[in-house]
Every structure is written in structure tokens, then in C-alpha cells.
């Protein structure tokens, strides 16, 4: 478990631009996430929220500007450099993205095998069990992802993202496809991670209710630009009707 916030867990976007073919998805986007802070990125579909996460973990490269993660410019890193930064990052995908030919246990063991070569097979087994226990799936380790419900898959995906005890956690639409109760359970788990491990989090979400529970700051994206950035209270004080569409709980 992390000892607490440290300056190495910060994320900074500096005038980042990203486009696909002729379409610009992100246009001069800048913001920072301090260590131990939870940033919720809100906005309509197609405004580049998931692209923002993929830039942070180096799955995509920015066309212009800098994506700084833990003090490293992600665009300038080679594969070894990326592996080093990713060692301290976890990523919960929108669809959980569990490897469907692997059991849940194997899904969780893979990051440990690949990114933490110091652990023995017994230690890996223990770490997998512990991670599954934290999300309440300790009895489902031998199941294939197809045998799990949507909520259980999300929890298993979260366990995989947390198994390396990352200092930075990226979460893409934790509530998508889930009923309110299951979505609330995932939010509770994220809250637990935030408070107990002081993990830096970036959460892309449409669920303003969950975002208000977890987020220390909000970034609202609209048409590839940051429409507003600040704490929920600061954003509430704005009198912008477009902004209110995104942050109002009604």
C-alpha cells in the first residue's frame, strides 16, 4: 500500500492536442491532477474523455503539447520507459476488458507476472486472492469472465487494475451498463481505494451522482476543449447553462 500522496503521482496536460483523421478530438487541453486527488472528467459522448485517459497511459500519443505523468513526458518515452511508468498505474476499462480466455485469477496474475518480476508464484497467488477479496470476488477466481455478471466483471477489472497497488488509477465509465445499486457499489470501492491508499485517480464518467461522491475536482470537456475546471463547489457557483447540464444532479 502507498504511504501517502507524493509529488511523483501527479498528472499534467499542457496544451494537448489530439485528432483522428481530420477530426480534432482534443484542442489545447490543459489541467493538472495533484497527488492523491480524484479528478472526474465529465462531458458528452465523443468529446475525448476516453482519449484523455489513453493519452495518460501512453496507449495514444498527443499530436501536440505534453502529457506529463509522474514527472515523465509520455510522448518522449520508449517502451522500457513506458513500462516503468505503467508499473505505477492501473486502468479500469469501460467494458472491464478482462481477457476472455483467462480465468479471473489468471487475469489478475498477468500484471504481476509481467510488471512485477520480484514476486514468487506463491506471493502472486496471495496477491491475487487479496485483490479479489477487496472487491468481494474471492470465491470467483476460477471462473471465466463470461460466467460473471456485468457488475462482477467491473469489480474483477478493478481488482486487476489494483493488483499492482498502483499510485495512479485511471477509470473509464465505472457506472456504464450497471444498475444504480451495482454502480453505487463500484463507487464505494473507488472511495475506499481513494481514502485508504490515497491513490491519484482520474475518472471519466457520465454519472454525476457518483462523481460528486468521489471527485475532488471536475474537468468538463466540450467540443474538445476544457469548458470548466475546479472543485464541484467552484463549478456550482458558475452561472453557465451549458455547464449546468453536465454537473447538475437533476
Amino acid at each position: 500500500m502507498s504511504d501517502g500522496p507524493d509529488s511523483g503521482n501527479t498528472i499534467a496536460f499542457e496544451c494537448v492536442e489530439k485528432g483522428f483523421n481530420a477530426r480534432k478530438v482534443l484542442d489545447k487541453v490543459s489541467f493538472t491532477v495533484a497527488a492523491g486527488e480524484a479528478l472526474c472528467i465529465l462531458g458528452r459522448s465523443g468529446t475525448g474523455k476516453s482519449v484523455t485517459l489513453k493519452l495518460m497511459i501512453g496507449l495514444l500519443q498527443a499530436d501536440a503539447g505534453k502529457v506529463m505523468v509522474a514527472g515523465e513526458n509520455m510522448s518522449a518515452l520508449d517502451e522500457d520507459g513506458l513500462a516503468k511508468v505503467r508499473r505505477n498505474m492501473g486502468y479500469l476499462f469501460q467494458s472491464a476488458a478482462l481477457f476472455d480466455s483467462f480465468t479471473v485469477n489468471q487475469n489478475l496474475a498477468l500484471p504481476l507476472h509481467r510488471l512485477d518480476r520480484t514476486k514468487s508464484p506463491e506471493e502472486i497467488k496471495q496477491a491475487v486472492h487479496q485483490a479479489l477479496k477487496e472487491v468481494g470476488l474471492e470465491k470467483d477466481g476460477e471462473k471465466l469472465p463470461s460466467a460473471l455478471s456485468g457488475g462482477m466483471q467491473k469489480r474483477a477489472g478493478l481488482a486487476r487494475a489494483l493488483v499492482l497497488q498502483p499510485k495512479i488509477l485511471l477509470v473509464d465509465e465505472p457506472a456504464s451498463g450497471l444498475d444504480r445499486i451495482t454502480a453505487a457499489e463500484i463507487d464505494e470501492l473507488l472511495m475506499k481505494v481513494k481514502t485508504e491508499r490515497r491513490t491519484t485517480m482520474v475518472i471519466v464518467t457520465h454519472d454525476i451522482h457518483g462523481a460528486r461522491k468521489i471527485g475532488d475536482k471536475f474537468a468538463v470537456l466540450d467540443q474538445g476543449r476544457v469548458l470548466a475546471f475546479g472543485t464541484p463547489e467552484e463549478l456550482d457557483r458558475h452561472n453557465d447553462s451549458r455547464l449546468n447540464q453536465f454537473i447538475s444532479e437533476r
Partner: protein, 254 residues
């Protein structure tokens, strides 16, 4: 249209060249490779053997009805073995593999792309191309010649069963007639050409699966393209390779 065809050929060629290059550089994904050997080799075994046996029986029935008119039924075993070694075994095994394995690879990789599993692999700093593509290419390239051997054997056995039922021909005499006069050049080059077929099937199927990004429609397209294009390419490659074999082994052409 023509530009897009040439562009696709260029992309697949580069994709295939990358797979060959990456196959020789570490890290090597041994565990995943052995899984692929099992899935592709063992998984296709029954289909190949059953098809080979059935083809052997049918081929013998057709050949007999023709040769009996010339009183040359004693030649059935050698016709059978040469037909299987030279063409039927390699080509049918390759087409079966394109159907079963090619469609599976295309659909599986496209689904992994659509459900972000390939992105998830990359976030673990694992080279997804090496893990998913190179292992399948190696497995298909090495497994198809082996499967062809089994298809040849099943075809000859099917031919024997058919002949035995018709004429009570003994196994020893059938095998003697089947292999008498069969040279290594009749058997080895056609069997080894299936390694090229296996490589082509894997590259084309992996290309359509790995590079798609169109959700469930992409899965459908990848599965269809994998089977159709790889079957077509295998048949075209067969024409070229047979010509090459005739050039290298002129006795075969006579």
C-alpha cells in the same frame, strides 16, 4: 477501388514482414505459443482426419469406376497416394484450416479489439502484436504441414477401406502398391508448401482481426474476410508454388 486493393496488399505485406521479424527477437511468448499449438493443431485434428478419410473413400470410388474400364484397378493405390501427397492433402488441409482456424483468429482478435482487451494488454507493457499475432503465425506455419501429414494418412487409409470392401485387397498389398514408386520429391515439397499456406492464412486472419476497430460489425467482417481472402490467396499461392516445385524438381512435372 484498385488503389484500395493495392493499399491493402501493401499493408498485409508489411504486417507479415513485421511478424517474421518479431518472431526472431525476444521476449518469446512460449506459454501462449504452446496454447496456440494446442488450439490450432489438436483442435483441427479431428476435422482434418475425418475429412481426409471421407475424401479417400470417395476418391477411390470415383477412380475405380473409371479405371475398371481399362482393367487398371491395381493402379488405384498409387493414384490415391500421389493425389493426396501432391495436391489433395495440402490444399484441402489448408482450406479446412482457413475455414476453422482463420475465421476463429479473425473473430477472436476483432472481438478483443472491440472489447478493449488489446488495449488492456498494452497497458501492461506487453507487446500485443507478439503475444497475439506472432504466436498464431508460428503455430499455423508449423501445424499445417503436420496436419497435412495426418490428412494424407487418413486419405490413404480411407482409400484402403474402400478398396478392401470392393476387392478384399490386403493392407500389405495396398500399401506396397500405394508407396511403390513414390519418391521423396513427390511427398516432401508439397507437404512443406503448406507451411507457406499456414503463414498466409495466419497473417491474413490476424491482419483483419487485429487491425479492425468497428465493434461487432468489425468482428463479422474480420471473420468473413479471414476465410474468403485467405482461401483465395491459398489457392493462388498453390498455383505459384506448384510451378516452383516443378522448376526445382523437374521429374515431378512429367
Amino acid at each position: 477501388m484498385l488503389k484500395s486493393v493495392f493499399s491493402s496488399i501493401g499493408e498485409v505485406t508489411l504486417f507479415g514482414a513485421r511478424a517474421i521479424r518479431d518472431a526472431f527477437f525476444p521476449p518469446f511468448e512460449w506459454e501462449y505459443l504452446f496454447n496456440q499449438f494446442y488450439e490450432i493443431g489438436v483442435g483441427s485434428f479431428l476435422l482434418v482426419v475425418a475429412s481426409g478419410f471421407a475424401l479417400g473413400v470417395v476418391m477411390t470410388l470415383h477412380t475405380r469406376s473409371t479405371l475398371v474400364q481399362f482393367g487398371a484397378t491395381a493402379e488405384i493405390p498409387i493414384f490415391q497416394s500421389l493425389a493426396f501427397f501432391n495436391e489433395i492433402g495440402p490444399l484441402v488441409a489448408a482450406l479446412l484450416m482457413a475455414g476453422r482456424v482463420g475465421a476463429g483468429i479473425g473473430a477472436q482478435l476483432a472481438n478483443m479489439r472491440a472489447t478493449e482487451q488489446i488495449d488492456a494488454i498494452e497497458t501492461l507493457s506487453v507487446d500485443s502484436f507478439k503475444l497475439l499475432v506472432v504466436t498464431r503465425v508460428i503455430a499455423c506455419t508449423l501445424m499445417l504441414p503436420l496436419l497435412t501429414l495426418f490428412m494424407d494418412a487418413a486419405g490413404i487409409l480411407g482409400g484402403f477401406v474402400s478398396e478392401h470392401i470392393w476387392s478384399r485387397l490386403s493392407l500389405t498389398l495396398y500399401m506396397h502398391r500405394a508407396f511403390d514408386g513414390v519418391a521423396l520429391a513427390d511427398f516432401l515439397p508439397p507437404t512443406l508448401k503448406t507451411a507457406v499456406f499456414g503463414y498466409l492464412i495466419a497473417i491474413i486472419s490476424c491482419f483483419y482481426g487485429y487491425t479492425t476497430n468497428e465493434g461487432s460489425d468489425g468482428v463479422r467482417k474480420a471473420a468473413t474476410n479471414s476465410v474468403v481472402i485467405s482461401s483465395l490467396v491459398v489457392i493462388l499461392a498453390d498455383v505459384i508454388l506448384v510451378k516452383c516445385i516443378f522448376f526445382l524438381f523437374p521429374d515431378q512435372a512429367i
